[in-house]
Amino acid sequence: MKYVKRSIKKVDGYGILSGKPAYTDDLAPRNSLIVKLLRSPYAFARVRKIDTSEARSLEGVECVLTHEDFPRIPFTRAGQGYPEPSPYDKFALDSYVRYVGDEVAVVAAKDEQTAEKALKLIEVDYEVLNPVLDFEFSEKSPPIHPEDGISGVENQQNNVCSAYEMDIGNIEEELKKCAHVVKHRVYTQAQAHVMMEPHAAFSYIDYQGRLVVVTSSQVPFHIRRILSRVLDIPLRNIRVVKPRIGGGFGGKQAVHGEIYAAAVTLKTGKPSKIIYSRKEVFESSYTRHPMRIDVTLGSDEKGVLKAIDMEILSDTGAYGEHALTTLMVAGSKNLPLYNRVNAVRFKGKVVYTNHTPAGAYRGYGAVQGNFALESAMDILASKLGLDPVKLRQLNMIREGETSPIFKIMGEGREGAEMTIKSCKLEQCVELGKRIFGWSEKFSKRPESGTKVRGVGMAIAMQGSGIAKIDMGSAILKLNDDGSFNLLVGATDLGTGSDTILAQIAAETLNVPVKKVVPYSSDTDLTPFDTGAYASSTTYVSGNAVKRAAEKMKHLIVQHGSKLFNCSEEEVVFNGEEIIGPEQRLPLSEFATKLYYSENQTQLCSTASFVGDEAPPPYMSAFCEIELDTETGKITPVRYVAVVDCGVPINPNLARVQVEGALVQGIGMALYEEVKYDSKGRLMTNSMMNYRIPSRLDIGDIEVHFVESYEPTGPYGAKSVAEIGIDTPPAAISNAVYNAVGIRLHDLPFTPEKVLKALRVKEGF
């Protein structure tokens, strides 16, 4: 392999680091109207009356829109495959507001100051309603969505957005037979993505009268479809362009401000832009789904797992974006880790509350489920007196095996059967254990004193796209100098996927990467792609690129044979030259001829890919923490992660994906606390008060790879984007237990909570 498995520089890195205009706000026309949203100050209210006359008459205000200006079309902000598994429970603007920060009205003005001023001039008469702020009581509370016309909600009266249930074998019977049964309950928080670039979009009408929307989005094709629905204009009249994105992590897998900028542009005919403030990003985009998870594990005397039961209550906030799917992923991306059990039961409900909506976030349920399952595994290990590593080794999935769950549980529907063709989890655990020095560290007796060290571990799996749903496609176009344009719908959100896809094309064509010029995510110019989510790009879009490149190779040979007047079998294309029985031509000359003089034809190949399965990457994680028993503060010391992501196409970029995800996971485990006040206002709504880990808060992190070869992946690759985030909550919680004997079950593990648990243990 010449161009894959190479850590080449990102194709866009140089320009971006040099400050070239690249992000949405850099590209917006200078004369754009500034769009601002009036947002609800109440967690739950009905708009009785809204008077915009004063705001409208303010000089410089171009338009003010309220719910009366939008057609009443229900939709979901979630950017998912169609038809979406999320309910259509939202309107562009509604007379009900369901969380603090929900949209009430849209203002567009010549500048920011005027827009802000206009917001203050809008008079709203609210009928304030009693909000539902505790998700464990939501089912018994009055409905948050009593309205007519919405669809896909499990039970509007009981606030149940979605529900799911499945079982294999007889869980009750199986548990009765078990020598050891462990029950564990955990709570996870509404983690915020905190991508560095806030949500941003601008729109304008082009010279053909079409709506162009430029947006910092992970899902441009879904945005186009949703805009067409919500704004009630034909899809063909919308073009969505994604420039460079300043991070997403799932937070941009939805339509956010695009609707409002586009509505203003349609109304005024003028370019308009909307840039979310950081407060809006926190309060009014969406978060990770907070969950309560109950796990029951049953094993025999020796620690062979026989039964796993998982029950979840998930809080989707005011709207059901990604509600059902994150719930299902909590099970489907964890339960198959221990695939040889006799019985599995998974059931869960997702309920509405009057909190900021929850949606897609890296890990997507899997991290919540992993925390529950992998903590419970350690509880079982300690009950059995077994090394937690041994317990995993005894039970975990291996190459060549399968799990019935792959077929039963997909995302929002049935999944796809899969026999695991690549799984080096055993080697990941073995290598991690050795590098970390697990045996020695684990067997060390607990220290006394106020600073106590402990070690913990966990394993994880994820997926590579969503089988039979996620689709990627690519177009390769030969240019007259022998270079190629690679047009992909795949959405690079900073991960380096443009680079990786160019590497895959280069490898297949056997041309230098610089001869492949990637261009991604422009609904007018690039072919369809479901978008960058569910760890899909390398596997799904990568496969599409590989296919397109193979087709291109064939086209070159085909046209070479025409030029050389011989049969195709007699022509070889080696990346540099087209070689016939008597002639050889450099690719550039061939292309020049082809476009200017002989058999004039544009060579262009298109290919698509949908996975029949979603091969999981795997990892083992070993961590060491130091706990201050006087303050309860946990300090990460070292984290060793060993990952099987198949063949890493670009090892550097794969490593950075894992390192970055681990740090987000550490943030979730230790620092990122979400607090609401009694009225349902998000208090941790700024980066000042929602602290993500700095470089001094994470300890040493070492990422290693155990390479497997995934036969269905492009050059053996699987995904790597999400898996890194899954283990920190469980591994750190296990380390805390091994250090001081307390079992933490409520994320994040703030010093205050740890101290409380320590005092309970000491019998205070």
Binding site: S7, K9, K10, D12, G13, Y14, I16, L17, S18, G19, K20, P21, A22, Y23, D25, D26, H193, V194, M195, M196, E197, P198, R244, I245, G246, G247, F249, S277, R278, K279, L493, G494, T495, G496, N650, N652, L653, R655, V656, V658, E659, G660, A661, L662, V663, Q664, S686, M687, M688, I692, S694, R695, L696, I698, I701
Partner: protein, 151 residues
């Protein structure tokens, strides 16, 4: 009010309000490397150099910056040290989404000029440069080489 800023060695005249931030002013001048991250001095993304020292342009006023020399990455295009740290970051794949990239480069660049050699000190100076993509370690590998420090 009319002000004159010295940015990347050039005098720039512009019309601002007294409360226009330096961030807004620099973007008005087309310096798009200066980006807004948080509104609360909490992320470091808007870092620029003022008289060779990194400051936050989101909580500095344009009017305050008069008489000082402002540097953004646009002004370092041809600078040897800058080229090197940029290259190191690219070689490690530590650029990722890149939104915070220029601010990190500027801060590291300023530390190089101060000849700070202790890794611990460097890390401490960089604590205000938050990054959500990389997990920092790839940056550290790139920076270590650039600053010529060992463990």
């Amino acid at each position: 009010m009319k002000i004159t800023l010295t940015v990347n060695g050039r005098k720039e005249n512009l019309e601002v309000e007294p409360s226009t931030t330096l961030l807004e002013a620099l973007r008005m001048l087309g310096l798009y490397s200066v980006r807004k991250g948080c509104d609360t001095a909490s992320c470091g993304v808007c870092t620029v150099l003022m008289d060779s020292k990194p400051i936050l342009s989101c909580c500095s006023l344009a009017v305050q910056a008069q008489g000082h020399s402002i540097t953004t990455v646009e002004g370092l295009e041809k600078d040897k040290d800058f080229e090197e740290i940029r290259k190191n970051l690219l070689l490690e794949g530590a650029d990722q989404c890149g939104y915070c990239g220029p601010s990190l480069l500027l801060t590291v660049y300023s530390l190089k000029k101060r000849n700070i050699k202790s890794l611990q000190e460097i890390q401490k100076y960089l604590v205000g440069n938050l990054c959500r993509c990389t997990g920092y370690h790839s940056q550290l590998r790139a920076i270590k080489e650039f600053m010529e420090v060992g463990e």
